[in-house]
């Protein structure tokens, strides 16, 4: 397999991994949301994320099978790869924390995802472009929902404001990884930083919040070097397929 297609496959897998792992995390809120409507909202967003992951895994499997004569499927890629093979952003695998932290992460991630997918929509690869176009319609709803919650809590009570501040401190140094390129990435992620920051600051201003002054940024996830949390997620998510290989519903 040549280097170019190898990069392409790795990039598609990284897009799939981030949406799958964030979906898996958000799914932990199912039946634990603060109120019923928001429980339903976060799990609906989860469904969109896992749907996007499926589209990327299916396409990655197709490309791998074409170039390497293998027999990968969306399931084998999600359930049978190890921690070092996952290329998701670290921020996706962090524990949910409280509601403030969960919605702030969604806001950071969805705002970044929109910028990425707006680039991918113009990609020469028609399937990647099609997945991006499809996903953008969903991401717009995720951004609207999470922005509103950031404002509601930031500009809410002392308690909710403090929780948002704590969430910013907990997550901020995981946002730099969005814009530090990995060698396989097909778009220039560094160039998206200014637009992302502008979006965040606009919402934060209305939420009476400020960005963190912390400038140290954690990296590694995109190259398979993860926090201690990913192993536990995979253990839970993959246990059924590892124990009963090929099991189907």
């Amino acid at each position: 397999m040549n280097k170019l297609s190898n990069h392409q496959i790795n990039y598609i897998l990284s897009l799939a991994d981030s949406t799958l792992i964030l979906g898996q995390r958000n799914g932990e809120w199912c039946a634990h949301g603060p109120i019923l409507e928001q429980d339903i909202a976060i799990t609906n967003i989860t469904l969109d994320l896992i749907g996007q992951a499926r589209n990327f895994y299916q396409y990655a499997a197709l490309l791998i099978n074409e170039s390497e004569n293998k027999n990968e499927t969306e399931d084998s890629l999600a359930y049978l790869r190890t921690e070092r093979e996952f290329k998701n952003h670290l921020i996706c695998e962090l524990p949910n924390g409280d509601w403030a932290q969960t919605i702030l992460r969604q806001f950071f991630f969805s705002s970044f995802q929109l910028l990425v997918f707006e680039q991918l929509e113009k990609n020469n690869d028609e399937q990647i472009a099609a997945i991006a176009t499809k996903s953008i319609k969903e991401i717009n709803y995720h951004i609207k929902w999470s922005s509103e919650w950031v404002i509601r809590l930031g500009d809410g009570t002392d308690e909710s404001h403090n929780r948002m501040k704590n969430a910013i401190e907990a997550l901020w140094n995981y946002t730099g990884e969005f814009f530090i390129p990995a060698d396989y990435e097909m778009i220039d992620v560094a160039s998206l930083k200014a637009s992302w920051l502008e979006k965040v600051k606009t919402v934060f201003e209305e939420a009476t919040l400020s960005v963190s002054e912390n400038t140290f940024m954690q990296t590694g996830g995109k190259n398979g070097i993860h926090t201690e949390h990913l192993g536990y997620i995979l253990a839970e998510m993959q246990s059924l397929q590892r124990t009963y290989p090929g099991a189907e519903w």
Binding site: L49, I131, T133, N140
Partner: protein, 165 residues
């Protein structure tokens, strides 16, 4: 392929409903993109998902196969396409009327006019029970990925709204 076969297959597909909104056929939903057949009577039905994570797609593909097999088409393949992306504009007028009669407010604007303004809601969503347009958004996310939850300020009844997409 002969137009006759194609027409026949579309007639059969009219009997396949959306498992989550059984009053709508998959043709009302606008998710059938094309039907192709060759000389050997191999049929390919091309469908597109409403949302990336729509869990009904596998059930729909299965139902399409079963319905066509019942009608004598034994070599049936269902394939998915994402391009062009489905929007609520693809839903038929007939479909929108059926939704309303079923108690779900149909999508009201063209999909490109989604209101991204924060804390906004779509205006003049009609309550499917009492037809008042004095309604409010309860949640942007409802019982399925394609619906939002609204409530009527007059008759107080909560209802699903099929959101523009």
């Amino acid at each position: 392929m002969s137009d006759l076969i194609k027409e026949h297959i579309y007639k059969i597909l009219e009997q396949v409903s959306d498992p989550e909104i059984p009053v709508l056929t998959i043709l009302d939903m606008g998710i059938v993109r094309d039907v192709i057949s060759d000389d050997q009577n191999n049929i390919e039905v091309i469908i597109t998902p409403t949302y990336s994570g729509c869990p009904a797609m596998d059930a729909i593909a299965f139902d399409i196969k079963m319905k066509l097999i019942e009608n004598g088409y034994t070599h049936v393949k269902v394939t998915y396409t994402l391009q062009p992306a489905w929007t609520t504009d693809w839903m038929s007028e007939d479909g929108k009327n059926k939704l309303k009669a079923y108690g779900i407010a149909p999508p009201q604007n063209i999909s490109s006019r989604i209101n991204k303004l924060l804390f906004s809601q779509e205006e003049n969503i009609e309550c499917p029970q009492c037809h008042s347009t004095n309604t409010k958004l309860l949640s942007e996310f409802g019982s399925t990925a394609c619906k939002a939850l609204y409530q009527c300020n007059d008759c107080k009844e909560p209802f699903d709204y099929f959101k523009c997409h």
